[in-house]
Symmetry: C2
Subunit: 307 residues, 2 copies
């Protein structure tokens, strides 16, 4: 079974599977559509956390412990900024900073986010195509007891502590998907569309809130395969479980599958969730979904492609 | 002899004497007015090279070999920017970058350049006051065979190679001096005004092109003392000699003294220039002006103050 594959991914967890897919597929067969709902401007710099994590992960430059940032990083900028009384709640490594400064410069000179991302992809020597979900700004915001918070304020500055009552993907309803993304999703040769094990509400949600992307998934002839970000009711990393609970959702893989019901053909859950129920019309496949090593990522990628 | 001292300084050479003055005067007795004609925007960042060199030098953080930048610097941002195909002709160290990012952020938030500089001064624990020559942008430009060039394009990118036919201090004629600078220059207790051994055309020229600063020097009751940047017709560093020659000036300390004639009371030249002539009304003092060690800087500072 051959043909190109499209993956929808957020940051760390999604990027792990994207790397597995990139490594088991022929070079260039993978297109990753990335969440940009986390993007923000900080210290005057245009920062795209999920695109950056995908770039570093697919270039095999990512920090293996943190999952975000680069493994060969130094922190002298940050240390000095702290000494100067600057804002240091969002960690920016010295090497990482080059990406943000250069992105900001190129955007200010009139390039689109997709063009800047393609420039970085080429310079990092990444074979997979990486597309932002839109060139238009979409901003995830969260209603909490402290009011509406911007995503990074909630996620990084406040470490996901405030209870969330509502999530908004500001700008998504009118954001255009990239023509290249829609073409990839409509490709008659497409082998599969993979929704990576990213946070359904914070990472996949913004992508599916873009009408053209959602329709493209609904109309796709290729099978749509979602991989569960929960194992036995717990998230590997991040606030998925906490957030689902706060929003009154059941905290398990079945709830995630229900959320994707009208879009997916296959739901890949961890073997720990073999007994779960999936919505009618969705086929359950189980596989080891915990991705600690590179071999884990490749194994899960193969299981997803064979599901 | 006591009382406050005001120094007018450009970057490297001027900052060396400023440090000497700061070290031999009581804490807080020194005010440095800095050239900002070299300021520019690069990679979206507001960069003030002479202010930065003064901050690093007075904080005793400057790189002792280069004279600019910090001595405990790393270059991972720059190396990564090069890998990403960014503009790397202006060297920005990882620690140095924090100053530019924070300055840019504060200016964008509405602070003046003087306020940002004062913030940095306080955070670096510098006792001397450091004032930009103006909060308004003044930009030194040079007419060459390649057309009018911005200062850093000429100075750093093209390494002063193009022959200069004319120098312009764009914005200087209408730039306001800082009230704090004018007050310091008019202080009845003022002991001396020192024109540091900076490039007369590129570093001191922009300051003297601001009408209020020039008048303040002309009207000052305190003695105005200029220190020669040339020793035996040669500049210690930078393009001073080359530039003077290209502009049809004699390349010697006497020419520098003539340029300052209507403003100064004392001209401090190197002992190698003991036989030089100075304009009427200007008193010649000689001293060792080469500042290699910290002791050299303090010795020259004492000689200037006792002149």
């Amino acid at each position: 079974m051959n043909g190109p594959v499209v993956a929808l991914s957020g940051g760390i967890g999604g990027a792990k599977l994207a790397l597995g897919l990139a490594r088991v597929l022929p070079p260039g067969a993978l297109t990753v559509i990335a969440n940009t709902g986390d993007d923000f401007e900080h210290l005057g710099l245009a920062i795209s956390p999920d695109l950056d994590t995908l770039l570093y992960t697919l270039a095999e430059l990512a920090d293996p412990l943190q999952g975000w940032g680069r493994r060969d990083e130094t922190w002298n900028f940050m240390e000095t900024l702290r000494q100067l009384g600057g804002e240091t709640w969002f960690a920016l490594g010295d090497r990482d900073l080059a990406l943000h400064v250069e992105r900001t410069r190129r955007l200010a000179a009139g390039a689109t986010l997709a063009e800047v991302t393609e420039h970085f992809r080429a310079h990092f020597g990444i074979a997979a195509r990486i597309l932002p979900m839109s060139d238009a700004p979409v901003r995830t915001r969260l209603r909490t007891a402290a009011g509406w918070l911007d995503f990074q304020d909630y996620f990084v500055r406040r470490r996901c502590a405030p209870a969330v009552g509502e999530i908004q993907y500001a700008g998504a309803a009118t954001a255009a998907a990239l023509p290249a993304a829609l073409a990839a999703l409509a490709d008659p040769a497409l082998r599969a569309i993979v929704i990576c094990p990213s946070n359904p509400l914070l990472s996949v949600g913004p992508m599916l809130a873009i009408p053209a992307l959602r329709s493209a998934l609904q109309q796709a002839r290729a099978p749509v395969i979602a991989v569960s970000p929960l194992i036995g009711g717990r998230a590997i990393k991040g606030p998925t479980a906490k957030l689902m609970q706060e929003l009154g959702l059941a905290v398990d893989a079945a709830e995630v599958a229900r959320g994707y019901a009208e879009l997916i053909d296959v739901f890949v859950a961890d073997e720990a969730d073999a007994g779960m129920t999936v919505p009618d019309g969705v086929r359950l496949v189980t596989a080891p979904t915990l991705m600690t090593t590179l071999a884990d990522r490749e194994r899960l990628a193969r299981a997803v492609l064979q599901s």
